[in-house]
Structures are given as C-alpha cells and as structure tokens.
C-alpha cells in the first residue's frame, strides 16, 4: 500500500494544481452552467441573487429551440460552418498541393498564405468591415468598388446585409484567415509520406490520378480529419468577427454565440446559460468520439 502510494503519489501531486483548476473551471462550471440553464433566472435581480430563481427544468431549451429567432441563429451557424469548412479545406489543400514539391520561392508563398493566422479576428474585422461595405454603384467602396474597377459589376452585392445568406459574407474573412493553417497541416501531411511510396507506385505504372487516389489521399486522410475538427471547432469563433464586422444587434449575421452575449448583457442568465449548453452539446457530439478514437489509436 505504502509502496503503491509512493509510486502514484508524486505524479498525482504534480498534476494536482492543473487537475483542480481544470476540474473547477471546466467541469465544475459546465455543471453550474447547466444548473443555471434549468432555472427562470431571467432578470438582473435574480442574476445578482437579490431574488431567488426557480427551477423550470427544460422550459428555456424548449422556448429557445421553438423561437424563430434562435432557429435563425442555428441556421446561420450551420451555413457559416459549412462555407467556412469547405472554403478553408479547398484553399488549404490547393495551396499545399501546389507547394508540396520543392520549388523557387515556396517559402515566400507559404509565409504569406499563413500570415493572416497571426492576426486577431478583431483587427482583421476592421479591414473586412471596410471591404464588405454594402454600398453599391456610385457610393460603393470596398470590394464592391473593386469589382466595378475590374469590370465585374455583376458581382456587387450587399454582403452581410442579406438576411438569409449574409452570414456567408462573414465566412469570407474567416477563410482568408485560416486557409493558411489548413495548408500548413496538409503540407506536413504531404511531407510525412515517404518518397519510396510514390516511387513504388510510379514503378507499378500508376497514373498521376491513381497515385493520388490510392496512395496520397489515404495517407492524408488523418490530417484532413484533424483539420476538419480544428476548423469546425473554430467556427464558434465567428463571434469575434461578427462583433467587429456587423455588431451583435444585427439580425442578419447573428449566431448562438452572439445570442449568448446579448442575453448575458441583458442579465438573462438562464437563457445565456442554455445557449452555452446547446453549443457544448453540439461540440461534444463531434469531439468526444474523436478524442476516444485518437486515444485508442495511440494505444495500438
């Protein structure tokens, strides 16, 4: 017993500060948040504890999911995530594919494609608000003006001011910012493929397409999965961009994270907590199987 304690004791002691912090700030708060989401804590008096909050079970969730307003936010989140994922994966793969073989100037291309990643969404939001200005024709500035200058007038549009598809305009800066990241992931994937594998395939007379289809793509699929998970998870960061491009008050571009901020600002803690829990469930559905899978693969 004492021997066992001596073996397990020190490592656990060393992990203790982090475990306690993560235990409280992640798991403890998730539980607390869920508890709040089950109450009628909708007013400032309740939020500050001057008036008691009563448990109403899942009423907040039911009301939220039934409201057209919140459905619009969820729909926006789906649209944004799909466009953002597709955009970054396509651009990231294309760039990695072009830069995969050693060539002159590859360092410059790589560095430039990746640099937006170092900038905050708030800072890039300042520029993109200017670029995505919805004024057209005489009054146009930003991208609409650029379209006129290169003779693509037809491409002018009102960007994030469109009620149904406005959110896609917000995905454009996000794609600009994170395609380089996906490129970096794919480049690492390409370079992890042994040369012998390609040589062997070529020896066997495989065409370029067959080489990709049967040799390179399967080797790259773990990288692609990682990229999908990371980028998909980052789509929740849309919050920063929306706050700096179109403001939280905008119906067109709101997503659940923005709703959560608005609820919190008006001291509607119960609804804010419910939105948070919904986001957590969405993320957990994707992440938990991924973590378990990764864990299992590592053991093998």
């Amino acid at each position: 017993m004492l021997k066992k304690l001596r073996r397990v004791g020190p490592p656990l002691l060393m992990l203790a500060p982090s475990l306690i912090l993560v235990g409280v700030f992640v798991y403890g708060l998730i539980v607390a948040n869920f508890t709040t989401s089950l109450t009628d804590n909708h007013t400032a008096a309740q939020a500050t504890g001057q008036k008691p909050a009563v448990v109403v079970w899942f009423t907040n969730y039911i009301d939220l999911l039934a409201s057209e307003d919140f459905q619009h936010s969820l729909m926006n989140l789906v649209l944004y995530t799909v466009v953002f994922l597709a955009g970054t994966m396509v651009m990231g793969f294309l760039w990695a594919w072009m830069l995969e073989k050693p060539m002159k100037g590859e360092g410059i291309f790589r560095s430039v494609y990746l640099f937006p990643m170092a900038v905050s969404f708030v800072a890039s939001g300042v520029v993109w608000r200017w670029l995505l200005n919805s004024n057209q024709d005489e009054q146009a500035s930003g991208l609409n003006r650029l379209f006129q200058m290169v003779g693509l007038d037809a491409l002018q549009n009102n960007w994030w001011n469109n009620v149904t598809f406005g959110i896609i305009a917000i995905a454009i800066p996000a794609i600009w910012q994170l395609s380089g990241y996906v490129m970096a992931l794919f480049l690492a994937g390409f370079r992890g493929i042994p040369d012998e594998l390609r040589e062997a395939a070529r020896m066997d007379g495989a065409s370029e397409w067959k080489l990709y289809r049967h040799v390179l793509f399967p080797q790259l699929s773990p990288v692609a999965l990682s990229a999908l998970i990371i980028i998909g998870h980052m789509s929740l960061k849309a919050f920063d961009l929306i706050m700096s491009i179109s403001k939280p008050a905008n119906y067109q571009t709101k997503v659940p994270a923005v709703d959560m901020f608005v609820f919190k600002s008006s001291f509607d803690y119960a609804n804010a907590a419910a939105v948070g829990s919904i986001l957590l469930i969405i993320v957990a559905i994707v992440i938990v199987p991924y973590l378990i899978r990764t864990n299992r693969e590592e053991k093998q």
């Binding site: 993560v22 494609y113 939001g125 146009a140 960061k237």
Partner: protein, 295 residues
C-alpha cells in the same frame, strides 16, 4: 509535433527526373506560378487596404478614391490611434507575459508526468484535461462571471491572467506531452537508477531538453492571449481591458466613419504577433501543428 514542424520546413531534394522537364511540364509550372501569385495578391489585398487607408486624410474620404493611394500622406491617424490604444497595449503585455509563462510551466510539468512518469489511468487523466481545449467557452461563461466575482478578483488584467492560465493548461499539456514522448526512456531510466526522484529528474534531465518546446508553447500562448477577444469582452472594459477590446471600441466609437484611425489601430494591435510570426515563424508553425491532437 516538432517532427511535423521539421517536415514542414525541411526541403526535400528534388526528385524530378530530367526527362520530365519538357514543354508540357514547364507550361504546367508557369500555370502553377501564375495561380500562386494570384492567390498571393488576393491574400495581400486586406494588407494594402489597411496600409493605404491608415495614411489617408479626410480629403480622401470620397468612395471613388477608395482604392487609390492617398492624395496627401498623413500620420494623423497613426497618432490618434496610438494615443487611444497605447494604454491598452501595455495592459495586454501585462496579461500576456505572466499568463504565457505560468501556463507553459504548468503544461511542462503535466506533460512530463503524463508522458514519462506515467501511472495507471494517466491516459484517462490526459483525455480529461484535453477536453478542456475543445469546450466552447460560452458553456462556462455565466457561472465563470459569478466565480470570478466571488473570488474577489478585480476585473481586467488580474482576471484575464487567471483565465488565460487556466484555459491554456490543456493545449500546453498536449504540446509538452507529445514532445516528451520523443525523449528516450533510457535518459529518464538512467536518472532513476542514479536514485534521482521525480522532481530531480524533471529539473536536471527533462527541463534542459525542453527549450524548443517552451519556445513553441510560449509563442502559441502569447499569440492566442494577445488575440483573445471573447474573455476580454466578458471580463474587462475599454478602461481596463486589453487591446482587442480597446480596438473594437475605437472602431465603433465616435470615429466610426474615420476608417483611417481604426485601420492604424488594427495595425498597432497586430504588430506584436506579426513580428513574432516573422522572426520565429518556424516555432509558430510548430505550435499550429500541435493543435492537431496527434501532432
């Protein structure tokens, strides 16, 4: 993780047979360069806008001059933005420096224990910690505000340091753990045979080997804390908050129509992370790679 970074930066020798360097091949190469340059320009468009607009005076406000160079180059916007943002930049430094160092150190301890001083159930402990990296912070924000209030921490810098340390633990643990699994067992066993305890082994054998990982982790934490907006907007104001909050307020405030000032401000706010990226790009990429769990 580091292996991935090396693969990314290492140049493989060209394996193109000379017979392939014929007409069709160089045509394809020209097309490839054209495409690469096209994308280069597209990616740099916002940079052009940022720089040019930040030097424009009010005389250039007409939309027809939106993409033109300034008629009169002026530093006025830069001065206004600097006055508005410099206090918040100092506060950001006060948040980012201690929080990166503390969370890097905690991550290094955890990574070492989980990778090289393991015990039964260590994998489960690791997964439990790692999950913290993936949660949407919206799911803890409401009780977090109450917890911070109860702890009596002043809003602004002290609160943000705590939050960046705590929520940085999963990623720093991940990076160090992945790195330490590449440290040979023999090195640590040698220490054990010599009778060195866990702390002693960590301090005299593992820590000196960890410098590259520390650089990667510090850069990662520095960048993400510097660019953080979510925690900043919930736990500080433009009076006591970091530069992201101040910049957002500047861009929305009285100067709403004066894009020049907000553009100059955006540049100020981005310069530190951009400089780190330019100087220490290799390590920056290393941190990015570690974001993928398997590294």
């Amino acid at each position: 993780m580091t292996a991935a970074a090396e693969q990314l930066t290492a140049h493989r020798p060209a394996a193109v047979p000379p017979t392939l360097r014929t007409g069709r091949y160089s045509m394809a190469r020209t097309l490839k360069y054209l495409a690469l340059i096209f994308f280069l320009i597209v990616v740099l468009i916002p940079v052009y806008v940022l720089l040019v607009t930040s030097f424009k005076g009010t005389g250039d406000a007409d939309p027809s001059r939106a993409w033109a160079l300034p008629q009169l180059w002026t530093l006025e916007n830069w001065q206004t933005a600097w006055t508005a943002l410099s206090p918040s930049i100092l506060r950001t430094i006060a948040v980012v420096v201690p929080s990166s160092i503390i969370s890097a150190f905690l991550g290094s301890l955890n990574g070492f224990v989980l990778a090289r001083w393991s015990f039964r159930g260590a994998d489960i402990v690791f997964t439990v910690i790692l999950f913290g990296m993936f949660i949407p912070y919206q799911a803890v924000m409401i009780p977090l505000t109450q917890l911070v209030l109860n702890l009596g921490l002043p809003s602004g810098v002290p609160t943000l340091i705590l939050l960046h340390v705590v929520y940085g633990i999963p990623i720093t643990t991940l990076i160090f753990r992945n790195y330490y699994t590449t440290v040979p067992h023999e090195l640590i066993e040698a220490g054990r045979v010599d009778g060195a305890g866990m702390l002693r082994t960590y301090w005299s054998i593992v820590l000196p080997l960890s410098i590259p990982s520390f650089v990667v982790v510090l850069i990662w934490q520095f960048t993400s804390a510097w660019n953080d907006f979510l925690f900043a907007v919930f736990f500080s104001s433009s009076q006591n908050g970091p530069v992201t909050v101040a910049l957002n307020n500047l861009a929305n405030g009285a100067l709403l129509q004066n894009y020049g000032v907000s553009m100059a401000g955006a540049l100020f706010a981005s310069l530190p992370t951009l400089i780190v990226y330019i100087i220490l790009g290799k390590y920056f990429v290393g941190g990015l790679m570690s974001g993928s769990v398997k590294g």
